[in-house]
Symmetry: D2
Subunit: 337 residues, 4 copies
């Protein structure tokens, strides 16, 4: 392996730059050349590929987003797109690829491997909903940013005696809501993985004001449940009489300088991806499980520990889908006064 | 003057606690007792009044919101409300009041003074739209928080090549938008004080992508113009073809630990309010103008420098209404690439 | 178990307040009364003990330090001190104690248990050097603060082309240095767990300037190795010719609002301590291992998984002493350009 | 004026990058080309000069330090150095220079102007000690960073009942100490502009513990007074019996992302420097006074408002030397409990 490439794909996440830097620096320390690919698979197909040296990644460790940029590119699910991408890789003499991103990115990595280009996937997304790892790159930062924002909202909630519905990102997974909700002392946390009864939600709010001496109430709602505005409307329908406001944290949760922890795990996984390529592996996703680096086949049978399998109809089956920490939902209920 | 009270009124703002602490500590150092009034004029009328000593304000300097809580209380515009409040003040032996808040709070302060209770107003609001001062308590923090959020949004805007409309608070005044827009390097800033042509806005976006090599574009819109969602809809109507997203920073701009600067000016103004009461003044608002403390009569004629006058119909006239720094709008146009 | 107490002991750590809050709230939700003990074992012996309700811990989750205060109190190693403490506990009807702190705190917890007072230890220290847990409460925040400070120092190092020695806390353990060094992209990390050759350190600095196009160099040194000043002096003796500066981060690494992660793990462990007391356990320390809660006997044999054993001479033996992640030292060497 | 250059000189300060960006962007918007000079006057003499376009300054607004780097270069005080620099400027077709830095930088700007190269100075230093401006670029950030650090130290001071001496930067000026001390609620602030009596300092500490119910005490000392270690030693000599610790904030106060305010004033002044060069001015320093842009001759007579004059012996006389806000020292004494 003399030359590898690195790309980011899917939604950006803080720590992606730290992972890119680790790939570049580790590869160079192993005598391997590195190329960057701009805008994910789209850039690969268009040949937007350029040489990277150690200094090119000197100031990116602490920066949010991805300096290689990212893009969704559904065309890469088609054979034609894949072959066009491989042609470009060959043209640049590239022998292996590190792909940083979410599920879609992993599928691309698998296709490349099938076509003879070993590719390694790294889990980069704020949602923490990727199989094969306890933590994704960007999750810790998203939790930190959401927590900081809820802390700020509490200042106003307290000062004015208000109820706030705070919507945080998390399409399928309630992890950001659960962690930031506990960290910020939310009174209620609503996640897609758990049923809720809007009447009970409203009753808890009322009970807090009437019987517990509370002067404010904060409800964190994961976007996968519904929007904060919808949730507040349902609360009003269900009889809420409090001074109710909604804030959607939106895209600020996605940006910002990565936390120290995200930088460390991104660096750790990035360096490991190079080790795997150097050792001749491809079609694997790197993860962190029980504080150790682990690798899983991206596609294969559940028995062999693969993250995804193909069903008889050709559809992708997710083996061991990610589960949010519902024990944390329970924990928060015991802590919310 | 042996006993004074302090209250916060209107929307909460970071630095209100620093001002309260300064009032309490300075008064005690002058041998004056201090009482806190909860929830503004509402708490005054209800007699929600309690003694404060130096230690009670020991840990509030760096905390957002107001530990005295705040509330809007339109009833205080009526004579009945005012007399009820004064009765409570008398009951507690209070001889003067410091009122921290916005315009409405000032009107209350003036009424108290007219009824023989000297009251001093301090400008507490994030919007910076209070007459008689260059800076309000909370403005610097709101700008800092908005700037930090726009910095974060830029990470995603760059990573994905997107246009973002970012809505920031500011009902009548574009100051938060102007300062945070310049500080975060916004490409366009839209404020209520200035006309805009949506076609030009869209043309600038397009020109950036087509002719200037820009890969993203950030537009800061003050809420006083319209909501971010409405603005984006108008852009689409006007022909915008970019990947356009909206984020409303909402209430997070209002909370958070005050900046060092807000703590300093709040402390400075708070201590001065006590000096004024001690010297027998009332009906004045404290401000900072040209880096010096200034005082203005809250009600009177424009000639005597009063902030407000009464029209023949009894309506309140704002003398020298606050003006946003439109030179900063011009400055940003010359810096936006 | 109808009434328990909670105290903090040893050096303060961010997240201790979150743990206290969790103990109080969880206990109340289980129908158990909670008392706080000020200033650790010193306060216990002096009877500085007071009732805590759910609201008393309402605003502490996001605050650094410990609102119960802490103190070192070697007298509690003596039987006399222990009995005096127990007398106070009995006087207040307390039946179990949660102790948050470091090694010394654990020994006290064990003594109480031996005297019939079930006590549970929680690992609270920034150093991450407590046996029986992968992470201590406060470590993540200390790493975050150190990383942020090194990021700032890099601005000046780059601007002036300087070499900086940055001393970070960590008496026996290099964990803070290793994590923050990787997170901030340090060029070299020196920890007590690993030998270093000052000539090699200096040679690497020189090589960076001479052959790698580097314009600055950052060396993170754990205080357990030696002070930053001493290290810099040794570098100069060994022939360093660069523009060398020293910064000791000192106590700022110990304070500050806990990170979201520290708040979550502190809450998680705090609630679990109550579960253990309720279930009748004592003499256990709570930890997090492989992302799960674990408990270990504080004193016993290594075979039964106890954290400490007593040697024949009565001295305390640490079973499975904490080991810093030396693979992270290796990782950083491969990433430092 | 068709082509100008920009350089940073002296100690780095947060906001220098924002000023550089403003110079570059504003000049381009006026049809003027811009060159960057690396490492201040040293780089000028060595010809380390390169073209800058609008995109080159796209990501620097929010970054600390100076991407043009800085250096002290006493040789520029000599005619030979000046002529060598001018030769390089001519070689690159440069007709005017913007110099961002402290006093020494201003002297260089004046020399260039005398030799026929109009140069404009911008005040860039964290110390706020430059004549001709109310605020220097970097001061607000330094105050913010110092305040944040003292907030953190207070957590430990409270938790352990300790006295802390915190040394902050400020060689000749106590401004950082005064502002951050007020903002962080320091109990005492010691600055070079004011005498202090170490016995009184110690007596205040003792009185706080003995008579005011304080459990901790924070003293901020500007480095211009003496080092924190020396100050603490003097306190001990003078009889202090408290648990006394020292922290020197050191270089972290100098780095970090500039505050929104520093970015705004740096942008404002940077754009103005271009206006002045375009209008044919040189030998002026830009400042902000009473919230407005002002310009002062760098060298001349005190009567004409020049910042510096030459004495008969050829020595530089500082007209109207900077004065720290000693009213803030007084303010803090009335607020410290």
């Amino acid at each position: 392996m003399k030359r590898i490439a690195v790309l980011t794909s899917g939604g950006d996440a803080p720590g992606m730059n730290a992972a890119i830097r680790a790939v570049v620096r580790k590869a160079i320390s192993e005598g391997i050349e590195v190329y960057g690919i701009n805008r994910g698979y789209a850039g690969m197909v268009e040949g937007d590929i350029f040489h990277l040296n150690a200094k090119d990644v000197s100031n990116i460790l602490n920066r949010g987003g991805t300096f290689l940029q990212s893009a969704r590119y559904p065309e890469f699910a088609q054979l034609e797109g894949q072959l066009a991408g491989i042609e470009q890789l060959k043209k640049h003499g590239i022998e292996g690829v590190v792909v940083i991103g979410g599920d879609g990115s992993y599928h691309g990595a698998m296709r490349l491997t099938e076509h003879g280009f070993p590719a390694i996937g790294l889990p980069g997304t704020i949602d923490n909903d990727i199989v094969g790892t306890d933590y994704t790159i960007g999750f810790d930062t998203a939790v930190a940013t959401a927590t900081d924002a809820i802390d700020k909202i509490r200042d106003t909630a307290f000062s004015h005696g208000r109820t706030f519905v705070v919507e945080v990102m998390g399409r399928n997974a309630g992890d950001i809501a659960l962690w930031s909700g506990i960290a910020a002392g939310a009174d209620q946390i609503i996640v897609p993985e758990e049923e809720f009864d809007i009447k009970e939600v409203v009753a808890k709010v009322q009970n807090g004001y009437d019987n517990k001496g509370k002067n404010h109430h904060i409800i964190v709602v994961a976007e996968g449940v519904m929007s904060g505005e919808e949730f507040a409307a349902k609360m009003k329908e269900a009889g809420d009489t409090s001074d109710l406001r909604v804030t959607n944290l939106g895209h600020i949760v996605r940006g910002g300088s990565p936390t120290a922890r995200d930088r460390v795990i991104a660096s750790w996984m990035g360096a490991h991806a190079v080790d795997l390529l150097k050792a001749g592996y491809g079609g694997l996703a790197v993860g962190i499980h029980n504080e150790k680096l682990v690798e899983s086949p991206i596609l294969g049978t559940a028995e062999e520990g693969a993250l995804f399998s193909l069903g008889e109809d050709g559809k992708i089956i997710v083996n061991n889908p990610h589960k949010a920490r519902l024990d944390f939902a329970e924990l928060n209920r015991s802590l919310a006064h």
